[in-house]
Amino acid sequence: MTSNSVQISKLRRFVVGGSKPSTTERSWYSYLLGAAWVVFLLVSALFFWSIISKSLPVWEKQPGTILTGTSWGGPYGGFPMILGTLQTSILALVLAVGVGLGAAISIVFFIPARLRLITATIVELLAAVPSIIYGVWGLLVLSPWMLAHFYPFLDSLGLTFLGSSAMATGPSILLASIVLAVMILPIFVSITREVISAVPQDLIEASLSLGATRWQVISKTVLPTARIGIMGAAFLALARATGETVAVALTIGTVSNVQWHFFYPGTTIASWIASAFGESSSVDIQALMALGVILMVISLGVSLISRWFIARQRKMLAKV
């Protein structure tokens, strides 16, 4: 066999798969599958490449400004968007974990078995609701309520660093974070549920046999054992929060300056891209693509961290 044909048959084997020695099995079926997944890989590669390549001029000319600059237009400063992404995602995560941890523990341990299916279904349904609907609910329902009741309430607690409720208009970092928290709650709860249920029953029985109260069993045995997996769930929820677009676009007000007062409007990378795209020149669009690259990096990085945690949790439980 010439070296060419060796290479071709190697490539063919790589594409159509299997380590079957027989080459007569290369049926149309294998080629069909091969075609499909090559298309998928190609498109995925193009996905990364096209966004990155469209943004290259920005990285060449002003890499620093896009990360640290604070105004948009002229030199494109992406810092307000990056900051806003972090503000909303982290606050949403804190809220979601706070409520979600208790909810997951309840579903696994305290809800009677017959109710468990219903509550789990409800949480799953929450995950299926399109994000635009959360955005609309946030803007048209939650926001007026918060303006009327919640902002003044927080004001009365003396939390002036949030801003003044009198000057709040509705869309705000706080509103967006709350809506985000509701959106990422289902995925956090469903993974945490899985992780908690995977803690072996005999560890629970061993703790009880030592005279632990029910909460002690959970806090001193179940949660420490599941801790790594719960971190994985949290980072996965965080990844989702960073990428959320329309729900945030509707509720955050989308301004282009840095904002530290959570009662007032802010911005995030995704919502800024969505809002500013319509009126952008082709140069503007390059900068938006650059923001897209930043978002890609953030979201991918957080997802990878999450996957690392979940893999470690699986390894640890396999040893027990």
Partner: protein, 306 residues
Amino acid sequence: MTDLFNTAQTNDALRAEIQEIAHKGRAARLVRSRIIIALCVAALVVAIIPLAALSWEIILRGVPVLKVAFFTQLPQVPNLANPNLTGGVSNAIVGSIALVAYASLMAIPVGVLTGIYTAENENRSASLLRLMAQTMAGAPSILMGLFAFALVCQQFGFGYSAIAGSFALAVLMVPVIIVATEIAVRNVPQTLREAGLALGARPHKVSLSIVLPTALSGIVTGCILAISRAVGEAAPVLFTIGGASLLNWKPTDPVSALPISIFIDAKSQWPSLRAIVFGIALVLLIFVFIASFTARFLVGRQQRKS
């Protein structure tokens, strides 16, 4: 092993000391346990409240909007003379159907076939595919919009069009379908496959006539869920479809879509337009819930069969 313990008396003394300490704090520990458990259950209630509140509001405000005109008329813009002149969303309905149809045509074959490949192979290419699918499944959907804009609108020159929007949606749907298909095919018992091979059928015949029919409901479920997601997504189509006020549906035409109508009307200054939003949201919600329940039903039926 003579001197392993203290004398019996010291042991009893220690036992008594331990019991005393344990007894002293016991009541407090039990109360604390009950309080925290109550807080956890409260958290569960809090977690469910948003869904209840959201569904309630949407039903309440959406039902009045769902008149026949809503489905059949084109949208109209209110003015000071006619503040309640809003028309319907027929353009968005047609546009959404077109978008999802084109997207499914692209996504389902690629996704299902790739999913079958990753389920039946354990080599390097399969691992790479799985990694890619998982990564893409978690990617922010607005990036798909950017991608479709760069590739289809600009590079391929289609401009704002249905094909661009469907492409973005297809990129969104494929990873979901791949993962669901792989799970469904993997769930087919190995014994079934071996039985087919033992009868002398060639591997691809076994896959086509034995494995796939068994995995079909799982695959269909994955497709339903992917379609359900695509219908509701606004970000990928936001700047790829252009929007249309007529009943456009051809791939090269700019089209409208239900989520986009929501996005635009929600920010409108006219209360009558804002009210329409709830009708659209209700339609989307019903669609998504039906899809979700159908998926659950199919999965449940499959589990009962096996």
